[in-house]
């Protein structure tokens, strides 16, 4: 029966060949030497830690080393501003940031997805170090994790790109898989979030590769895309030739350098270092809102005023948002100025947003206490809404009808109020 098990498996799974493929016998002894040599050539040395051995490579970058627009030493100057990214407000020392990026054998958070490379980077006065831990087979994973666990307590913050949902939970899974004591959660800057906040609307993708090219001046030539990493690692496992992984190591190293550049970039933005005149209205808006959310009131203010100074026809949507910003901060004069400009811009156009009219009507009624103006803008809103409805398909859309009903009520109330006031 068991003699036939292979055959049956082959047949049932249609694996193509019922005859088992001969597995090349791996002759450990003979491989050991040239293998070690190949690793050494790539800059790796075998390091022994509390959980066993794995290969480690430290790459050192001088303070003056440039990666795109920035040189690595610029990190030292932005530490105190990066602190503002942290909702707990804990102080950030540049030397206590651990940049981290992993390469894994698959996708997702399942127990079978193994990080075969954990890359980390940190800054000291002497420069920036990228350290990569690589395992030759899954049996070395525990050794790698133990070394990482030793390193972690020296740092206060992790810096990653999508690490909050991917790399860090995955690493923690691995500690569970090996029943190792889980490292305490460091504070965590995941730069995917500010990148999305700033560039979601102006860039087709917020992938790290797209961001570094567009914003950090990093151009990679001959890069091995991260998506190929698993296949290359499996090839390495089958053939034991580490040179196939050279590109993956380089890719990971560059990703970590880009994280560093991104930290510098965000740090400089938070110091008000952006050249506002070079930014588009959409970029200005995202930047101002980002400042506002992080509590940089002054910076938000100056970016908004730059935005408000741009011609309305180039920034219709952004001016609407800017007006909402001023409304939040009860800056009625600025808000009304923007809405009026939008309303003016809209006159004579069809299918414009009703928002400026309604906002103006509300602002004049409740804040500026000018009932005539309020009534005027309510009527404008009504006119515009009716036009819109007449243009929409028979039956119209329900939301518009609701809006129309609200405007009618508003108008009626304003007329009553107005009459009463005149009677008084």
């Amino acid at each position: 029966m068991n003699g036939g098990l292979r055959e049956r498996l082959g047949r049932l799974t249609k694996s193509g060949n019922a005859v088992p493929r001969p597995v090349e016998p791996v002759e450990e002894q003979q491989h050991e030497e040239p293998e070690a040599e190949a690793w050494a050539k790539l800059g790796f040395t075998l390091r022994v830690g509390p959980g066993g051995a794995c290969f480690v490579r430290d790459a050192h970058f001088e303070p003056a080393h440039r990666h795109g627009l920035f040189s690595v030493r610029e990190l030292a100057a932005v530490g105190d501003t990066l602190q503002r990214l942290d909702p707990t407000g804990r102080s950030v020392e540049p030397e206590k940031l651990l940049f981290l990026d992993t390469e894994t054998t698959g996708l997702g958070q399942g127990a079978g997805n193994v990080p075969f490379l954990i890359g980390v980077g940190w800054w000291t006065a002497g420069g920036f170090t990228v350290r990569q831990y690589v395992i030759r087979h899954p049996g070395e994973e525990a050794a790698m994790l133990a070394m990482l666990a030793e390193l972690l307590p020296q740092f206060t913050h992790l810096v990653t790109y999508n690490g909050r949902t991917f790399d860090w939970p995955l690493v923690k899974n691995r500690f569970v898989m090996h029943r190792l004591t889980m490292p305490k959660d460091p504070l965590h800057f995941d730069f995917l979030y500010p990148s999305r906040a700033l560039w979601r609307t102006t860039m087709p993708s917020c992938r790290l590769g797209a961001v570094e090219e567009a914003k950090l001046g990093v151009i990679r030539e001959e890069d091995v895309p991260g998506s190929l990493a698993p296949a290359l690692y499996f090839q390495y496992l089958a053939e034991r030739d580490v040179t196939v992984l050279g590109g993956v190591f380089q890719h990971n190293e560059r990703d970590i350098l880009t994280l560093l550049s991104l930290a510098i970039h965000f740090g400089r933005l938070l110091q008000g270092g952006a050249e506002l005149s070079e930014l588009s209205p959409a970029e200005l808006l995202r930047l101002a809102l980002w400042y506002e959310r992080l509590g940089f009131a002054q910076e938000a203010e100056s970016v908004m005023s730059e935005l408000a100074s741009r011609p309305v026809n180039e920034a219709v949507i952004e001016h609407g948002e800017a007006a909402q910003y001023y409304k939040r901060h009860k800056r009625w004069a600025e808000a009304v100025r923007l809405w009026r400009a939008l309303a003016e811009y809209a006159s004579g156009r069809r299918l414009v947003s009703l928002e400026p009219y309604i906002e103006l009507s509300m602002a004049y009624e409740h804040r500026l206490k000018d009932l005539d103006e309020a009534l005027y803008w309510a009527e404008e809103a009504l006119r515009s809404a009716e036009l819109r409805l007449s243009l929409s398909r028979a039956g119209g859309d329900g939301k518009l009808r609701e809006q129309l009903e609200d405007i009618r009520k508003r108008k009626a109330r304003l007329m009553r109020k107005n009459r009463r006031e005149q009677l008084d």
């Binding site: 068991n2 036939g4 098990l5 292979r6 049956r8 498996l9 047949r11 049932l12 799974t13 694996s15 088992p20 493929r21 597995v23 054998t105 698959g106 996708l107 997702g108 958070q109 399942g110 127990a111 079978g112 193994v114 087979h137 899954p138 049996g139 923690k172 899974n173 569970v176 898989m177 698993p230 296949a231 499996f234 496992l237 089958a238």
Partner: protein, 767 residues
């Protein structure tokens, strides 16, 4: 009788009404009255927590049924348990009591509940939560399934005391992400598996492997949970539970729950053509009986064997009582309806708003629809266990219930209806699983390796794990290092493995009558015969015609139509023997039985249009679909080349066909399986042996043990077939034995009988 409405005012009056209706009584072949059962009680266990006791007393429960108390004791003594009791006997208490008791004693404990469907899981949580609330303690019970919002998932993983889920979710979401469930797995005390009987066949074989994986993960986290299982009545609950969970269990079957009087009525539609042995359609007779009950205001459930039958009956019944009740008060229920629709129907049945439901076996599980008053079975449900379970849907406590079994003309039905003792005296069937089906096992070895590397010396199932692991290393799915086997593939194996169906991809059905709307789905194998182009697909009583079947994209586009026919497709099957594992020859007579592996190629060829109500054939058309290939296990009967009495090849063909028809209909009696799980192919000249042969094969890749069981029963099957044919009252073949003469010819019956006589004779002489 209520003079104003003309409706009966009690079940007793209804029984009288039926007894005084000669048109019904002349077709009743058996009327069994099962006496009411008194409740048997035990006192609360002495160590029952006071909060728990108080909560029960508040609900009016002052003692337990005997089986509930026995289960509590057995669990307290640390044993794995399986409880077997009929529908509506308070079986949920057999597991809820010990689980809540444990949680009250140790708040860090955890329990995992498994139900075969999401609907059952949700029912259960509602009931549990109610009990827990009455106690005023902080025990968190949650369902974890595809509907659970992502925002609450983390909370459930860390803090849920009782996690209620289904095997599919366990397989594809929980086990592969076990590192997120450390709290649960470290503290898991109980695993509750309800509806144990539903885990049989292919599905059960998968689930047994999921449980192997679950136990492996528990061992990893250092827990050793106790299993508490509950099952409807089957012949082998203990054996089945042990095979499913791979542990010794204690059997609790001293049912103490009371029940009302039950009337079980066998109804055989009258013969309309004596010569051809054709009886009046069971569908029409079901319509008549169910119509009578519904018109009398009796809440009734009708079970039909196929989806198509359900829809046809639904159409008929809605039409029949449209003057008494609105169309919304009679509903259909089957797989392929969307979940929201099903929940609405279940609610309507519980509230009494829905007066009648026509269902496939989808409602035989413990989905809470309350208890109905009457049940009509359109055709024998295939097994004794199923029949009891479906009939159990009727019967409110202390109230008389009535069940009609309406026989169709197929041989199995006729056999049962003419041999009432077979049904009433025989124990129900066994539930059978085959967890070591090589394909199923291999799938789960992959999943298990993904979850946790295998170590040399570990075992998983009955086959040699090492061989499987080595095979996966060769396939470059696993990586072997230092005696450990690691998952080394980019994919997520559980995604490609479905527990429910051989064909993993379902085909969705899109109604284009008014925009695009998904109305249901079918598995790929069924798609060949159900949604080929031009097929009439019936959904909730509405007819749709399939306009386009996009086999690649797995979509069937349909449009509503109103026609007076339905469609029925033919499947052409080719078969080749790959390997014979076992064979038994009947000492030199040339008759032999075999068991082994075969390749089956199946292709839908033509479809027939069949007129509603008269069921005449009014047209046909070709079906162009790619062939489906299946490697599976098979049992085959081989006949000697020289068969005296068979003058022509035609005679032989009719004899083999007639015999196959009988055998395939009695086979499910011995295998607790869906009749569609086992197939038969008679061949006058088998491809390889060139000998007359009848093949039976499992309709699942790799086989699930059905053919093997038939091989073991070979002689008994032949005896039984002979009894059926010679005992049938028809002249020369009818649908109840060898098949209608249109199919097996005028001499079909005598030819088949002669073939059987020779063979059985040969066996007897040898014995």
């Amino acid at each position: 009788m209520n003079r104003l409405t003309g409706k009966v005012s009690s079940m007793e009056e209804l029984l009288q009404l039926i007894k005084s209706t000669p048109e019904i009584m002349e077709n009743v072949t058996e009327w069994r009255t099962l006496p009411p059962r008194e409740a048997k009680y035990s006192d609360f266990p002495a160590n029952l927590r006071p909060e728990l006791r108080a909560a029960l007393e508040e609900k009016g429960i002052t003692r337990l049924y005997t089986h509930q108390a026995a289960a509590f004791e057995a669990i307290a003594s640390g044993r794995h348990v399986v409880t077997v009791t009929p529908t509506a006997s308070g079986k949920t208490m057999t597991y809820n009591l010990p689980v809540i008791q444990q949680l009250l004693e140790d708040d860090s404990s955890r329990a995992l509940y498994l139900f075969p469907t999401k609907a059952l899981a949700q029912d259960q949580v509602a009931e549990l939560q109610e009990t827990v609330n009455r106690m005023g303690v902080d025990l968190k019970t949650h369902t974890y399934d595809g509907d659970t919002p992502p925002t609450v998932r983390a909370a459930i993983r860390n803090a849920g005391h009782i996690v209620v889920t289904n095997p599919d979710m366990l397989h594809s979401a929980i086990l592969p992400h076990h590192t997120k469930w450390v709290k649960l797995f470290e503290n898991l005390k109980f695993i509750v598996i309800d509806e144990l009987h539903s885990y049989r066949g292919v599905f059960g074989s998968h689930v047994a492997n999921v449980i192997r994986r679950l136990k492996r993960i528990c061992r990893f986290y250092g827990s050793n949970p106790q299993f508490i299982c509950a099952s409807a009545t089957i012949a082998n609950p203990k054996e089945h539970a042990e095979k499913l969970i791979g542990e010794q269990v204690a059997l609790i079957d001293n049912n103490g729950a009371p029940s009302g009087e039950k009337h079980f009525i066998f109804y055989n539609p009258p013969v309309v053509n004596q010569q051809l042995g054709i009886r009046k359609s069971s569908v029409l007779e079901t319509r008549r009986l169910a119509g009578l009950l519904l018109k009398q205001g009796i809440q009734t459930i009708v079970f039909a064997r196929s989806r198509v039958r359900v829809e046809i009956l639904l159409t008929y019944l809605q039409d029949l009582i449209k003057n008494e009740l609105g169309p919304k008060s009679i509903r259909g229920y089957r797989g392929g309806y969307l979940p929201k629709q099903r929940r609405e129907i279940e609610r309507g049945l519980r509230s009494g708003e829905i007066r009648g439901v026509v269902s496939t076996n989808a409602l035989e599980l413990g989905i809470d629809i309350g208890q109905l008053q009457a049940c009509v079975l359109n055709g024998f449900p295939g097994t004794i266990a199923r029949t009891w379970q479906q009939a159990g849907r009727a019967g409110r406590r202390n109230e008389t219930a009535i069940t009609f079994l309406v026989a169709s003309s197929n041989p199995l039905d006729q056999y049962v209806i003419q041999n009432p003792e077979y049904f009433f005296a025989r124990t129900p069937e066994q539930a059978r699983i085959h967890p070591d089906n090589l394909l199923i096992l291999l799938d789960h070895v992959k999943c298990a390796a993904y979850e946790l590397p295998f170590q040399a010396g570990e075992s998983f199932g009955e086959e040699r794990l090492e061989d499987l692991l080595e095979f996966l290393v060769e396939e470059r799915v696993l990586h072997q290092n230092n005696g450990r086997y690691y998952w080394m593939e980019q994919s997520f194996p559980a995604n490609n493995i479905s527990l429910r169906s051989a064909a993993q991809e379902n085909i969705i059905i899109i109604d284009m009558s008014n925009g695009h709307k998904v109305i249901g789905e079918v598995d790929r194998f069924s798609a060949q015969t159900l949604v080929h182009e031009e097929a009439i697909y019936i959904h909730e009583g509405v007819q749709y015609q399939v306009e386009k079947l996009d086999y690649e994209e797995k979509k069937a586009y349909v449009r509503e139509v109103d026609v007076d026919y339905y469609t029925d497709a033919n499947l052409a099957v080719e078969l080749k023997v790959l390997h014979a594992d076992k064979e038994r020859e009947c000492g030199g007579t040339g008759y032999s039985a075999h068991y082994g592996e075969v390749t089956v190629n199946a292709r839908a060829t033509i479809f027939k249009k069949i007129k509603l109500r008269t069921h005449e054939n009014i047209g046909s058309g070709p079906i162009h679909l790619p062939e489906e290939e299946l490697h599976t296990s098979s049992y085959w009967i081989q006949f000697p080349d020289e068969l005296g009495g068979m003058k022509t090849a035609n005679d032989l063909q009719f004899a083999l066909l007639g015999l196959s028809n009988v055998l395939i209909h009695i086979a499910p009696l011995y295998l607790m399986c869906d009749p569609l799980d086992i197939r038969v192919v008679p061949q006058v000249k088998a491809v390889q042996s060139k000998l007359p042969t009848i093949f039976f094969y499992d309709r699942y890749p790799g086989g699930v043990g059905l053919s093997e069981k038939l091989y073991d029963l070979h002689e008994e099957l032949l005896q039984e077939a002979r009894r059926v044919i010679s005992g049938c009252g028809c002249l020369s073949g009818c649908p109840a034995c060898v098949g209608p003469i249109e199919e097996v010819g005028l001499m079909g019956k005598s030819l088949a009988l002669e073939l059987l006589n020779r063979m059985v004779g040969a066996y007897e002489r040898r014995a």
